[in-house]
């Protein structure tokens, strides 16, 4: 059996887990190629006009992959942590794929930690039993996969980005002594080198280094999110808001770059709050980038250069009045 995992949305969050899990169960895993023009076009063609960019990209990956595999693996990530959700679009993802893209061969299961964390893995177990009746085998596979995932998380806490660990040659070692920028946004945007126009690489090429909410343990982010009048009910909002506060407090950041996708619902709210709090608390320079399928690379480079000049070159020259650190 050949199972396809589309390289979009929560791919960068859980790929090590699922790859191991399926391999342990003797299932061959295929992923789609990294996003490129073809994938994006496939997605834009099939998706609802007003859908956000990452959903369109995901559609593209599915269309690219669907005829090469026996099944597509599209779990319904309901909730990753207690009392949180992800996004309504994640909740309806399997149906959108099945009915919009006419791709009926979808392996899916509801995964939720809304009531308690262990339920998530109970879901994984039940799902595994659909593939093989051998419960012991599923259990072992889950455990091995979980260990893989844990190692992956540990690496991220050291400053590695998911794209460093999953895509390509995987030999990049982050250097946190360089001028640091927090890039805040969804992992599926930040790590998608095509959609984000290779933002991380670009900053690194300037001579800077990047930290993202992925580099912050969730428990820390939750603590910082306590600053808000109400705990956000989206886990990525906690990651992004709490994560950026954590990064600002713990690293000598030069600036914060917010990467939003066009038409993202939750971002409109959480970016608004993040920006207001960061400005009030740290007076850090802030750059807002919104990406969609029409974004031109030239414009992005210009804005990035200007931001770099403003935050790094000037402070090297010693004339900055922007405190680099809270």
């Amino acid at each position: 059996m050949k199972v396809g995992i589309p390289r979009g949305l929560y791919f960068y969050d859980y790929y090590p887990f699922w790859e191991t899990f399926f391999q342990e169960l003797g299932v061959e895993v295929v992923t789609s190629k990294p996003t490129d023009k073809e994938i994006l076009n496939l997605g834009v063609e099939a998706a609802v006009d007003d859908a956000c960019l990452p959903v369109k990209v995901f559609f593209g990956h599915v269309r690219f992959l669907k005829d090469q595999v026996d099944y597509l693996f599209i779990p319904r990530y309901v909730s990753e942590y207690r009392r949180t959700y992800i996004c309504p679009k994640f909740l309806g993802l399997p149906e959108m794929i099945i009915f919009r893209l006419k791709a009926p061969k979808v392996l899916s299961h509801d995964l939720t930690a809304y009531q308690k964390g262990a339920d998530f893995y109970r879901g994984v177990y039940v799902f595994g039993k659909k593939i093989t009746p051998n419960g012991m085998k599923v259990m072992r596979a889950t455990y091995t996969a979980w260990k893989k995932q844990k190692a992956y998380l540990q690496k991220k806490y050291l400053g590695y980005q998911p794209q460093d660990l999953i895509d390509g040659k995987q030999e990049y070692v982050p250097d946190l002594k360089k001028p640091l920028f927090a890039v805040v946004g969804h992992a599926y945007n930040i790590n998608d080198r095509y959609a984000s126009m290779d933002l991380i690489k670009k900053i690194r090429r300037f001579g800077g280094e990047v930290l993202t909410p992925d580099n912050v343990p969730f428990a820390e982010a939750v603590k910082k999110a306590g600053l808000l009048p109400k705990k956000p009910f989206w886990s990525f909002a906690i990651k992004n808001f709490g994560g950026s506060i954590y990064l600002a407090e713990n690293y000598p950041l030069k600036g914060v770059i917010n990467l939003n996708s066009f038409g993202c619902g939750p971002d409109s709210i959480i970016t608004e709050l993040t920006e207001r709090y960061l400005k009030r608390k740290f007076s850090l320079p802030f750059l807002n980038l919104t990406i969609d399928e029409h974004t031109g690379e030239a414009g992005l480079v210009t804005r990035l250069e200007a931001f770099w000049d403003m935050t790094v070159e000037r402070s090297f020259a010693g004339e900055s009045n922007l405190p680099a650190h809270g």
């Binding site: 909740l91 149906e95 009915f99 939003n260 038409g263 619902g265 409109s268 709210i269």
Partner: protein, 371 residues
């Protein structure tokens, strides 16, 4: 304390009755106009959904009238509404507009919690008074829904244009003024009699269109160019899958009045096209199409604000639902840039298609969808 709250259709009438019964001073925002929208668009986040922007505009305008406290409902996600109040407060604060916030987070267990929360806000009122106030507010909303459902019948068939709306407007005024339960009943009776007197053409071929979608754009005529009245004038009977009193019963009272809302029946129709709740009214939208088909409707219109997450999910699967159910569906997205002319044109084209189909015409297998 001068309490204000955002507009959403006829909601203001009910909430005002409730708060005043509790002895609170209410400062209503002026009715939503272009200016409200302009204010909201200017200060709200670009990709925020339309309701948030209009709320924001409401609050800015109400502040000028002296309001100092916002009353809003909350939520536990996954849709944005549950976080509205807090972002709005932050934005307003940075504009130098300082409001206190009273958020009624949805009760987790039962109606008693809702009562307890209200009691806390109002301080020294007895449980009895609180219940009485809630009941009064609810009765008004219920009365408005009841009459509105009748109004659409007459609007589509009236011989003198505008006759039905005169009765409707008068009823709303009476309802707003009513102090006692008895007066609410009187207003209802008067409206029923008033409607019955309207000369109607019962032979007219009337189309029945169901409107599904996001609650705010469904209930607030400003956002949908008063779609119900407009379609009514074309001789179309319009029903919604969401009525405010049903929503209140489901969400604030957690289904206290059994069998009052059709929520369960509608949601039952959603699978296999949508097998999980997705927040907002996404499931109602998807289920609504087949539900309306079974009720004998000719077509369905989905209304949604730009970037509305649950409705985009619904919109993605609606073509499949429409095909299987055999009923045309039109999706209309609204935001601050939506032009009335284009909106109306699409409505008219849709009605043409429906009446063509109804007369036995055949557009081949063609269906139309909006994007």
């Amino acid at each position: 304390m001068k309490v204000t709250y955002p507009h959403m259709g006829n909601m203001a009438i009910g909430v005002k009755a409730m708060l005043e019964e509790l002895g609170l001073e209410v400062v209503l925002p002026p009715p939503i106009t272009k200016k409200t929208l302009t204010l909201g668009t200017k200060y709200g986040p670009e990709f925020a959904c339309l309701p948030l922007k209009l709320n924001l505009g409401n609050f800015i305008e109400a502040y000028e009238l002296g309001a100092d406290t916002i009353l809003m409902a909350g939520g536990t996600g996954p849709c944005r509404f549950g976080y509205y109040a807090y972002v709005e407060q932050e934005i307003l604060r940075d504009l130098g507009i300082n409001y206190d916030l009273l958020v009624l987070e949805p009760p987790e267990r039962n109606i008693m919690e809702f009562i307890a929360k209200l009691k806390k806000i109002t301080g020294n009122k007895s449980i009895f008074q609180v219940i009485k106030a809630i009941k009064k507010g609810f009765l008004k909303i219920k009365a408005a829904d009841e009459i509105e459902k009748k109004v659409v019948f007459f609007r589509a068939r009236e011989i003198t244009k505008g006759a039905t709306d005169r009765v409707w407007q008068e009823f709303l005024q009476n309802l707003n003024r009513a102090r006692e339960e008895k007066e609410i009943e009187e207003a209802v009776n008067q409206a029923v009699v008033g409607l019955a007197r309207i000369p109607v053409d019962l032979t007219r071929e009337v189309l029945k269109i169901g409107v599904v979608g996001e609650i705010f754009t469904l209930l607030e005529p400003f956002t949908n160019f008063n779609i119900e009245r407009y379609l009514g004038s074309l001789g179309v009977e319009v029903h919604r899958t969401i009525y405010l009193s049903e929503w209140v019963n489901d969400h604030l009272f957690l289904g206290f009045f059994k069998n009052y809302s059709r929520h369960k029946e509608i949601v039952k129709e959603a699978p296999p096209f949508l097998c999980h709740f997705i927040g907002g009214h996404g499931r109602e939208t998807v289920g609504g199409v087949r539900y309306l088909k079974k009720q004998g409707f000719d077509g369905v219109i989905q209304l949604l604000p730009f970037t509305c997450m649950p409705e985009i999910v619904a919109q993605a699967v609606l073509p499949a639902v429409s095909e299987v159910a055999g009923i045309p569906v039109l999706s209309l997205v609204v935001d601050e840039h939506t032009g009335e002319a284009g909106f109306i044109t699409r409505l008219e084209a849709f009605c043409d298609l429906l009446s063509f189909r109804k007369k036995g015409g055949n557009y081949g297998k063609r269906r139309i969808f909006g994007g």
